[in-house]
Symmetry: C2
């Protein structure tokens, strides 16, 4: 039994971009599991853009993190000790737990991973919240039809890269917007997007999009908001759909984000815009995971991970989210499983 447990807590609410001093580390005890509890060792932690919102006190769909208390998020772990009949030592589980090396929790707080023919980390990306977010946003709200044009922003990111591939599976023409040449090439060459646009390279994004979308835009899977979205929205076709998944361009803004009002265009085109978060679809997770696992095993869906190693590097991995560095899902590998 390892005697050392560590926790990452919210040391300071960031104004604007989070920094290293946003986070604090402390040693804490490892509690012995009581009846129906398990002791879980952390293998992988997920760092996600939405967590920036929880660092503020502003009202949102999820409660703010408490100052001086642990940050929590999606994770993969291994049961090291069990007092539950439902789990045993060695079982791999996923859950939403504090950023700690070890957590002692009710067995019902984690879900056993039964299918081990895919890498464990996939349960934090394509077969986790990330894949489900892409799946329901694209299919339930976007609902692309054969031959329609779909634009995805932050397209090389965790959700965007899956969302675009799902639209391809449905027969759409897919244009991805990303922030480096490498990512734009990755979209076209690895993921099969029809066009990848590097918004940092083009002189005029609006014009580049017009050229990439000669028939206009039917679905815009929006991860970013801001001026990129302004450019896409200007090209919407009648009855376009916008699954609104993220507004990362504004997460670190101190002031109100101002831009051209979108209502006139949405009215003229009779478009639909719908904000969503994945827990709204909790009752349909099995359906989504079944489809995603099927496409994965058929080779129709590729995914990519950027893995940082070491619990101590978790804050930096989180900060990387806002630097546009990562391709695919950003993860932290904390420990190797015992078996």
């Amino acid at each position: 039994m390892v005697a050392i447990n560590q926790q990452i807590f919210l040391a300071k609410r960031p104004e604007g971009l989070p920094a290293e001093d946003t986070f604090g580390f402390r040693h804490i005890p490892i509690d012995k599991p009581e009846q129906d509890q398990v002791l879980v060792k952390t293998l992988y932690l997920s760092v996600d853009p939405y967590m920036r919102g929880r660092m503020s006190t502003e009202k949102s769909y999820i409660e703010p993190f408490v100052l001086n208390e642990a940050i929590a998020g999606s994770m993969i772990g291994e049961v090291v000790e069990s007092r539950s009949e439902h789990l045993q030592a060695g079982d791999k589980v996923q859950g939403f737990l504090p950023w700690q090396l070890y957590n002692t929790v009710d067995a019902s707080a984690v879900t056993k991973i039964n299918r081990l023919d895919v890498p464990l980390s996939a349960y934090l990306s394509v077969l986790g919240i990330t894949g489900l977010t892409a799946y329901f946003g694209m299919l339930d709200i976007g609902a692309p039809k054969q031959g329609e044009t779909v634009v995805v922003s932050s397209a090389a990111g965790a959700v965007g890269s899956i969302a675009g591939q799902i639209a391809k599976i449905k027969g759409a023409r897919v244009v991805g917007i990303a922030g480096t040449e490498e990512k734009a090439a990755y979209l076209e060459k690895e993921l099969g997007f029809d066009i990848g646009i590097n918004y940092n390279q083009v002189d005029d994004l609006q014009k580049a999009l017009e050229e990439a979308c000669p028939d206009g835009v039917d679905v815009y899977f929006d991860n970013v908001g801001g001026s990129i979205s302004d450019a896409v929205i200007s090209l919407l076709n009648d009855f376009a759909r916008i699954p609104l998944c993220g507004t990362i361009s504004s997460y670190n803004n101190k002031d109100t984000d101002v831009g051209p009002r979108i209502q006139p265009k949405l009215l003229k085109t009779r478009s639909l815009l719908k904000g969503f978060i994945i827990t709204d679809y909790a009752e349909r997770f099995d359906e989504g995971l079944g489809e995603l696992a099927g496409w994965l095993s058929e080779g129709k869906l590729k995914y990519n991970e950027t893995v940082t190693t070491g619990f101590e590097n978790t804050p930096n991995a989180f900060l990387d989210l806002f630097k546009g560095k990562n391709v695919g899902k950003l993860l932290v590998k904390v420990s190797d499983p015992a078996n």
Copy 2:
């Protein structure tokens, strides 16, 4: 047979607010109806905010008016001569026809009004496009539930006044925003809204709305866009719905309308915003008209008209739309029926 026909045509595309020189009058002949045609005398003309859009060349859901050609819109007329077996002289009809004293058209271009126990003009307001717009926008997109809070902008206007009453019929708490004390009082005292706010009177609309909507906003029926909508959107509850019906605040703008971006709030609240125009619901018009007529006969629905008299005053009636003068539907009474 009257020998004089007149037509109002688009003389000049307005930049910004339309003015008298936007319109021209000319004399034109009255064509004899051919087989299956009817000669229709105009009784009422409808002037509507959306027509401003057609005066520009900008792409929208409806083709721009052609310069030097007749302006067209919803109207009520009387058949004065018929060569169709489906209509006879004296029949009252509604249609979408050029602004003329007389029109000679295929009988299929107009619809006979069978139910004459309500005033003819109601077919341009509560039992016409206006009422249907309120009905489908509020019920199909807004879908207010018992006890929810509904806010309507331009609430004393043609569509807003009906939309708010429909929400009341469905058991919602309804707050209307209008531009004069008289209108705000009209909403509360005549139409049964819970609160009428005069946005020109309050120091801080945001604060006034917060007080009027202590439980937040579940449905926002938006006729105006602009800063009024900014204030309402800031108060949206989770899973709020915004039927986007009009953006009259921007119709006469020469420059792009700029304001706080709404995506962050729509994402946090997982709200839906949907632009619509009434022709999208053409297949369900009978359902809507049946319900509206029922509520009207039960006394559950009141409507108000501001009627300008005289064909020559049609341009001024249209310009009044943008002056915030009218309560209820703005109409032009052109002629009395012969019988």
